[in-house]
Symmetry: C3
Subunit: 271 residues, 3 copies
């Protein structure tokens, strides 16, 4: 994969650092110092803290929309400073930079992983007063050096084992499908691991589905968009991620269904 010629490189940032501290500013400063013409794009810094699955899921939804050659930095890193390794993953169209804890791999696997290197070269990382801020000392400068065209082989050795995060496969039975709440998004919608293609008979707009989430069972309509039901009504739809969501129009599905990440979801066809 080659970087776009003649266009300033794009570096995206996705973290759980929150917007209220020095972390983002430090990372952006480091990037602009190393690669002054980089364009730094905030994807989110308000991910739920330490929630690797959530970060991986957001990255998976976002990465594909960016120009080829974009360098995606994702830092959700409860193991910062421990032995988990810092990685650069090169895929068919992008680079991914972040910790070896799975946060990069939902996205990278989908694009097609070509090479994974562990960041080891002292030449491309900063030394700091502590070991607690790999975003500033490792991920930001390395992303900027990659944007400058430094080859991955100079950054560190290739590795062939790394943490892989994947979306659990639903159980498909006759008449029903069992999956789980994969994440609860910030609108408090329940995003499941179920896709329309998991339903043998297909799912059609307007049909009622029997949905069991945790202990709560409800017959809810499968619709095309939130506004197809009244405010406060439950609904199921294919969300913008391509997965089936259980939502309350302008409401809080997580509270109504007492559901969180990992809560089982069973959808039965009322034939």
């Amino acid at each position: 994969m080659k970087l776009n010629e003649g266009v300033a490189p794009v570096i995206t940032l996705l973290t759980d650092f929150g917007p209220a501290d020095a972390y983002l500013g430090c990372m952006k400063g480091v990037i602009l110092n190393v690669c002054p013409h980089a364009r730094v794009v905030d994807v989110s810094h308000s991910l739920p803290k330490f929630n690797i699955r959530y970060g991986a899921f957001v990255l998976m939804q976002v990465f594909r929309y960016f120009p080829n050659g974009t360098i995606h930095v994702a830092v959700v890193d409860p193991g910062v400073g421990t032995r988990r390794r810092p990685l650069v993953i090169e895929t068919k169209r992008y680079f991914f930079v972040g910790p070896d804890n799975g946060v990069l791999t939902l996205a990278a696997s989908e694009d097609g992983i070509k090479r994974v290197v562990e960041i080891t070269s002292e030449k491309y990382i900063l030394s700091g007063p502590s070991k607690t801020f790999a975003g500033r000392e490792i991920f930001a400068p390395v992303a900027a050096h990659v944007a400058n065209g430094v080859p991955l082989r100079e950054i560190g050795p290739e590795v062939d084992r790394f943490q892989v995060l994947s979306i659990p496969k639903p159980k498909i039975a006759e008449g029903h499908v069992v999956g789980e709440v994969f994440v609860v998004d910030s609108f408090r919608n329940l995003i499941t691991n179920l896709r329309p293609s998991d339903f043998e008979q297909g799912v059609k707009h307007g049909r009622l589905l029997k949905v069991e989430v945790g202990g709560v069972a409800r017959d809810i309509p499968f619709v095309g968009t939130y506004g197809d039901v009244g405010r406060g009504q439950a609904l199921a739809l294919v969300g913008s991620s391509g997965f089936i969501e259980i939502d309350i129009n302008q409401g809080n599905a997580s509270r109504v269904f007492k559901a969180r990440q990992g809560t089982p979801v069973k959808i039965t066809f009322s034939s």
Copy 2:
């Protein structure tokens, strides 16, 4: 209106998507893919959800400070995926892109609307797995195509009816003025629909006003800035939007006055 020659086009983003999901990243990626030299500027993504009036008010305050030719994208869109139409509005100095629900029109009207088109051309929009994310599939790519110089007539047909949002006119009587809390801002200040020019006799700094908000009546000073009263004290002033605000210095006026969007406000001159 012509786009600035020789300067990278500016596209602003104003949404209620919150900072914690994939929505912003997707929109920014799409824009940079379609118009690689665009400069994407975050105005806010933390607007109160589904509050069209609030979004329209923020856009109205912001739009005029940007360079001519800026493309303002505003997405507060409770009716996403329903029959409400996606629009591009061309005004004297700017373009506005967003849903036909009024969120664009406080600002656009003030700049002078020249043309409104409904986005219909499949050529400039993306197809997605769902109908729930017009920001990614319609508004972002269209804004980027407009930045590339695509003429509006290629994007869709001109329309002559669209949702207009306006600021309610206050009732001006002898000795008092009646308006409402137009929005409660994030500092919990009460921003009214009253302007200094609504006061026949004028309002002078230092003067005491009798202010009734909801059921609470207070005599409060009309001042030039927050720091003119002590911490925790109530005050009225002309805010940065040009409207009269009822505030508590470093406090929460919405709680003190039990007021929210639409709560009536009466200001009486104590002669």
Copy 3:
């Protein structure tokens, strides 16, 4: 100090305005209008409101990572519109723009102050409907004019007295050190004013420290990174700011220790 030739100037923004209003959009628009090629970088807009110390501390951590010539705008300004003066501070490598209340001076002092001017020239500021938004009317346009190369002597007269904020010196005694919680960061970690060099005997990883914060005394390990203790365990470490932090791994140290900004901290060596 000279601005970088040939690279678009960088202007950073650090405020307590919150992300949900028109404030940021207005400032960014003004900057791009005055200096169309400026690159505006969001450091944070979610600082705790009116907390000058917190803002100063974030700016101090961030400023040094940016390219030489960067213009840092910091607005935490409870005294907006009162007689506190608007300043531009030129240091060895940077410019700082903001109110004269100390928010700029932790950072500027560390870089080496060369010159301080009060912003007085009407030529470089905007007139607005109110006196409550110096960010838009004074700090943003002046920063952009500085980015354009306007000399400071045109912006206003040099001043030799201004508010200086500094980090309180800890008391170092035999066997213990007494300092304070300098700030509570958004992870609810307690960042003290103590540095490793304040400990005569040095502090070594793995050692137990007796830590008294407010009324709570605990023996906690001094470690290299959060993950060196179990989830929910207390720890002390040198944080990314270079100061010693008292933290709970993935928890809320402020609540556990009932501590806030200014709470005394005593660390005793258990010999």
